[in-house]
C-alpha cells in the first residue's frame, strides 16, 4: 500500500474526494426529490400524484447517498465528525425529523384512508421543507466556520432559503423531464422562478466565503490562483444564460431534450460544489482541522477503500439500471 507514496497523505485525500462525490451526488439526486416536495403546495391533487410517481422509485436510493456521505465522514474523519455534528446539533435534529416525515409520507399517503391523504401530503411537504431548510442552514454555518454569532446565524438563514429555492429549481427541472402537458408547463414556470433563487444563493455564498477567511480570499483573488478558479464563474454564468433561454422556449417540439434543464441544473450544482471544495481544501472543519489531521488510521481506510473500489462501480451500474427501467414519463408508473 506504499506504492503511491505515503498512505497517510493520499488515503485522506482519496476519502475526502469520495465524501465530496457522495455529497455532490446527494445534493443533485435528493435535491431534486426534496425540491419536488417543496413544490407540492403549487400543484393540484392530481399533479401531486404524478409528482410523487416521478420520484417514487428513486428517492430511497437517493437518500442513501446522504448515509454514505455521513458514513464516510464518520469512518474516515472521526475527529471532524464529532466537531461538525455536535456544533450542528439542532439543525441535524430538524433534518432528521424532516427526513422521517417525508419518507414515511410517501407510503402513508398512498395507503392510509383517503380522508387522510391531504394530511400526509402536508406532512410530505413540511418534511421536505424542513430537510431543505436545515441542510441550507448547516451549509451556511459550515461556510462561516461553525461559529455561532448573530451575523453568521443570519447568513445561515439566508443560505437555508436559497438552498431550498435551489432544490425546488432542480426539482422543477426533474418534473419538466418526467411530466407532460399541463404539469410540464407549470414546472417550466417553477423553474423560471427558481433559477433566480439558485443564482442568488450561489452568489451569496461566493461573495461571503472569501471574506470569512483570509486564506480562501488568497486562493480566489491572488495571482496565479485566480486563473485556476476563473473558469468556474464564467462557465456557471454561461450555463445560467443558456438555461434561461432554453426555459423561455420550452416545451420543445415532440418533447425533445426535456432532460436538458435537469442536466444543466446538475452541472450548475457541480460547478458550485467544485468551487466550494476548492476553497475549503485541505480543511474538513473550516480553518480548524485538515483532512490529514482528522483521518482514521491508514489500515482502516485501506480496507474500506478495497471494498469501495469493488462495490462503487456496481452501485453506479445498478443505479443506471433503475433509471433506465423507470425512464420516460412518470404517468406510466404502476404501483405493482
Amino acid at each position: 500500500m506504499d506504492m503511491f507514496g505515503d498512505p497517510a497523505i493520499w488515503l485522506p485525500f482519496v476519502f475526502a474526494s469520495l465524501m465530496g462525490l457522495s455529497i455532490l451526488i446527494y445534493v443533485i439526486l435528493d435535491g431534486y426529490d426534496l425540491g419536488v416536495g417543496v413544490l407540492f403546495p403549487f400543484a393540484t391533487d392530481d399533479e401531486k400524484d404524478k409528482m410523487i410517481a416521478s420520484i417514487g422509485p428513486f428517492w430511497d436510493a437517493n437518500e442513501t447517498w446522504l448515509v454514505l456521505a455521513v458514513g464516510l465522514l464518520l469512518v474516515a474523519f472521526p475527529a471532524a465528525h464529532g466537531t461538525i455534528l455536535t456544533s450542528l446539533y439542532l439543525p441535524v435534529a430538524v433534518l432528521m425529523i424532516g427526513l422521517i416525515m417525508r419518507g414515511v409520507a410517501f407510503e402513508f399517503r398512498a395507503k392510509a384512508p383517503a380522508a387522510y391523504k391531504r394530511l400526509w401530503n402536508n406532512v410530505f411537504f413540511t418534511g421536505s421543507l424542513m430537510s431543505a431548510l436545515s441542510q441550507g442552514f448547516m451549509l451556511g454555518m459550515y461556510v462561516m466556520g461553525l461559529d455561532y454569532t448573530l451575523g453568521h446565524f443570519a447568513f445561515a438563514v439566508l443560505t437555508a432559503v436559497f438552498l431550498t429555492v435551489g432544490y425546488s429549481f432542480i426539482g422543477a427541472t426533474w418534473v419538466i423531464h418526467k411530466a407532460d402537458e399541463h404539469l410540464q408547463r407549470k414546472a417550466i414556470d417553477w423553474a423560471k422562478g427558481g433559477i433566480w433563487g439558485l443564482m442568488l444563493g450561489i452568489g451569496a455564498i461566493s461573495l461571503a466565503t472569501p471574506f470569512v477567511s483570509a486564506r480562501i480570499f488568497g486562493k480566489w483573488f491572488e495571482f496565479p490562483y485566480l486563473l485556476w478558479l476563473a473558469p468556474l464563474p464564467i462557465l456557471s454564468g454561461l450555463i445560467v444564460i443558456w438555461l434561461w433561454r432554453m426555459l423561455q422556449q420550452m416545451p420543445f417540439e415532440n418533447d425533445r431534450r426535456s432532460w436538458l434543464p435537469f442536466v444543466a441544473a446538475s452541472s450548475l450544482w457541480t460547478l458550485a460544489f467544485g468551487g466550494m471544495a476548492y476553497s475549503f481544501y485541505p480543511y474538513v472543519v473550516p480553518e480548524k482541522l485538515t483532512i490529514y489531521d482528522a483521518a482514521s488510521a491508514p489500515e482502516s481506510l485501506f480496507i474500506i477503500l478495497i471494498g469501495t473500489c469493488v462495490v462503487l462501480p456496481t452501485i453506479i451500474g445498478y443505479t443506471f439500471l433503475a433509471y433506465y427501467i423507470f425512464r420516460g414519463k412518470a404517468t406510466e408508473l404502476r404501483y405493482d
Binding site: 400524484d49 410517481a53 455536535t86 425529523i97 422521517i100 488510521a297 462495490v311
Partner: protein, 469 residues
C-alpha cells in the same frame, strides 16, 4: 453532565428501539416475499400472487419506516456520542461503511424495481430484484451485528494512545458472540414476521376475507413459526452460554444473582433491590439456573458483587431492567412455542370426512382471535432481548474498552431534552399510524377493494386491471 448522559442514552435507546421494529419485519418479510414469488413462478397459482401483492405493501411501508429511522442513528453517533468513533472509529468505521456499500444501496435500488417494476421488467428480473432486496437486508444484519457483537466481545485490535487500531479483521468480524447474535436476530425476525402474518391473516379471515391468498400466507407463517421457535430457543441457550463466558456480569444481572453461588435457582419472580444489593419476593426453581447455564445442577454462577470496583462503584449494569427484560423475552418465546405448536396440532387433525387434514380451517374462532392478539408479539420479544443484552453491557459501551460516560457529547442537557421530546412525539405518532394502516389495509383487502391506489386515477385503473388479472 449526568443529565446529558442519561438523556442522551434515553434518546439513543428511543431511536434504536423504534428503528429495530422495522428491520425486524423487513429482514424476514423480504425472504418470505421471495418464497411467495418463487411459488407463484413455479405453480402459477393466483393465491401465491395474492399473498405477495398484499404483503409487499406492508413491506414497502415497513421499509420506509426503517430507512428513515436508521438515518437518524448514523447522525446521532456524531451529535451525541462523538467519543465512540474517536476511540473505536478505526474498527466501527469499516464495518459501518461495508454495511452502507454492500447492503443499503442494494436494497434501496432494487426496492424500486421490486415495488414498481412488476409490469416493467421481465419476470426473472423482478424475482431477482426481490431476492436482492432480501439479500441486502440480511447483509445489513451481518455487518451491524458484527459491529454490535464486537462491542460486547471485542478482539483483534490494539490500543495505541487511547485509540483502537485493527490488527485482525477476521477476528473482529467473527468475534466470539457474533455467530450467536446473528442467528438469534435472524430467527427473531422470522418469528416476528410469522406472527405478524398469522395475526393479520387471522384478522382478515375473521372479518370475512378468507381467500386462498390469506390461507396460504397463514399456513406458511404458522409452519415457519412452529419450525423455528425450538431452533431459536436452542440458539438463545447457546448465546447465553457464550455470554456467561465473556460477560458474566450480564448473566448475573439476568439471573438476579448477587453473591456467587452454586446450584443457583431459576428465579421466576423477584424484585431486585440495587441499593440493598439483594432480591425481594423471590420465587424460583432450585438449581435450574445453574443447570441451564453450566449444564450441572450445582454449577457455579458468578454474583454481581464480584463486579464492584475497590471504591464501591458498580462495574455491572442496573439489575432490574436486565432481569425483567430477559423474563419478558423468554416468556414471550414460550408463548410463541405453545401457540405455534398447538396451531399445527389443530391443523393436522383429520377433517370431518376423515380423508384429509383440516389445515388452517381447523383453527377455531377463539384461536384466531388469539393469533390476532399475538400479531406484534415478535416486537415485544425482540425489544426485550435487545434491552437485556444492551443494558446488560453497561456501564460499558465497548466492553472493557470504553464506557458510555466517556463517549457522550458535552451537549447542554436542555438541548438533548428538546430533541428527545421531538423524536418521541414523532415516533409515537408514526407507530400509531403504522399499526392503524396495517389493519386498514387488511380491512380493505378483506372487503375485496383494491389497495393499489397511490398515483393518478389513470394509473390506479391500470394497476387494478393488473391486480385482477
Amino acid at each position: 453532565m449526568m443529565e446529558t448522559l442519561l438523556l442522551s442514552r434515553i434518546q439513543f435507546a428511543a431511536n434504536i428501539s423504534f428503528h429495530i421494529l422495522f428491520p425486524t419485519i423487513t429482514i424476514a418479510l423480504g425472504w418470505t416475499l421471495l418464497f411467495f414469488r418463487l411459488r407463484y413462478n413455479a405453480t402459477g397459482e393466483q393465491r401465491w400472487m395474492q399473498a405477495y401483492s398484499f404483503w409487499v405493501k406492508i413491506f414497502a411501508l415497513s421499509f420506509a419506516m426503517g430507512v428513515v429511522s436508521g438515518i437518524t442513528m448514523s447522525f446521532q453517533f456524531g451529535t451525541n456520542w462523538p467519543g465512540f468513533m474517536e476511540t473505536v472509529g478505526n474498527i466501527a468505521g469499516p464495518l459501518l461503511a461495508y454495511e452502507v456499500i454492500t447492503a443499503f444501496f442494494l436494497e434501496a435500488v432494487f426496492l424500486g424495481i421490486m415495488l414498481f417494476g412488476f409490469s416493467r421488467v421481465p419476470r426473472w428480473l423482478h424475482t431477482t430484484a426481490t431476492g436482492l432486496v432480501a439479500f441486502g437486508t440480511t447483509m445489513s444484519v451481518f455487518w451491524i451485528v458484527a459491529l454490535n457483537s464486537w462491542m460486547h466481545t471485542p478482539q483483534g485490535f490494539e490500543m495505541i494512545d487511547g485509540v483502537a487500531h485493527a490488527t485482525d479483521w477476521w477476528a473482529i468480524v467473527f468475534n466470539p458472540s457474533m455467530p450467536y447474535r446473528f442467528f438469534h436476530m435472524m430467527l427473531a425476525s422470522f418469528l416476528t414476521v410469522s406472527f405478524l402474518i398469522a395475526g393479520v391473516s387471522a384478522y382478515r379471515w375473521r372479518i370475512g376475507g378468507n381467500t386462498d391468498g390469506v390461507r396460504v400466507a397463514m399456513k406458511t407463517a404458522l409452519i415457519t413459526a412452529a419450525l423455528l421457535i425450538p431452533v431459536q430457543i436452542l440458539v438463545g441457550d447457546m448465546h447465553g452460554l457464550n455470554t456467561k463466558e465473556y460477560q458474566p456480569a450480564k448473566i448475573a444481572a439476568m439471573e438476579g444473582v448477587w453473591d456467587t453461588e452454586r446450584g443457583a435457582p431459576l428465579l421466576l419472580f423477584a424484585w431486585p433491590d440495587q441499593a440493598a444489593r439483594e432480591n425481594h419476593f423471590e420465587i424460583g426453581i432450585p438449581g435450574l439456573a445453574s443447570y441451564i447455564l453450566t449444564h450441572h445442577w450445582d454449577g457455579e454462577i458468578k454474583g454481581l458483587n464480584e463486579f464492584v470496583a475497590d471504591d464501591g462503584t458498580a462495574l455491572h449494569p442496573r439489575v432490574a431492567p436486565v432481569f425483567w427484560s430477559f423474563r419478558i423475552m423468554v416468556g414471550t418465546g414460550i408463548l410463541m412455542l405453545l401457540i405455534s405448536w398447538t396451531s399445527i396440532a389443530m391443523m393436522m387433525r383429520k377433517d370431518r370426512n376423515g380423508d384429509g387434514r383440516r389445515g388452517v380451517e381447523g383453527l377455531p374462532r377463539f384461536w384466531q382471535i388469539g393469533l390476532v392478539a399475538m400479531t406484534f408479539s415478535g416486537w415485544i420479544a425482540t425489544l426485550a432481548g435487545w434491552y437485556t443484552t444492551e443494558i446488560g453491557r453497561q456501564p460499558w459501551l465497548v466492553q472493557g474498552v470504553l464506557t458510555t460516560k466517556q463517549a457522550v457529547a458535552d451537549v447542554p442537557a436542555p438541548m438533548v431534552l428538546s430533541t428527545l421530546i421531538a423524536y418521541l412525539a414523532v415516533y409515537v405518532i408514526l407507530l400509531g399510524a403504522y399499526i392503524t394502516v396495517i389493519f386498514y389495509l387488511a380491512r380493505r383487502a378483506a372487503q375485496g377493494k383494491s389497495i393499489e391506489f397511490g398515483v393518478s386515477p389513470s394509473v390506479r385503473a391500470q394497476s387494478r386491471i393488473v391486480a385482477e388479472e
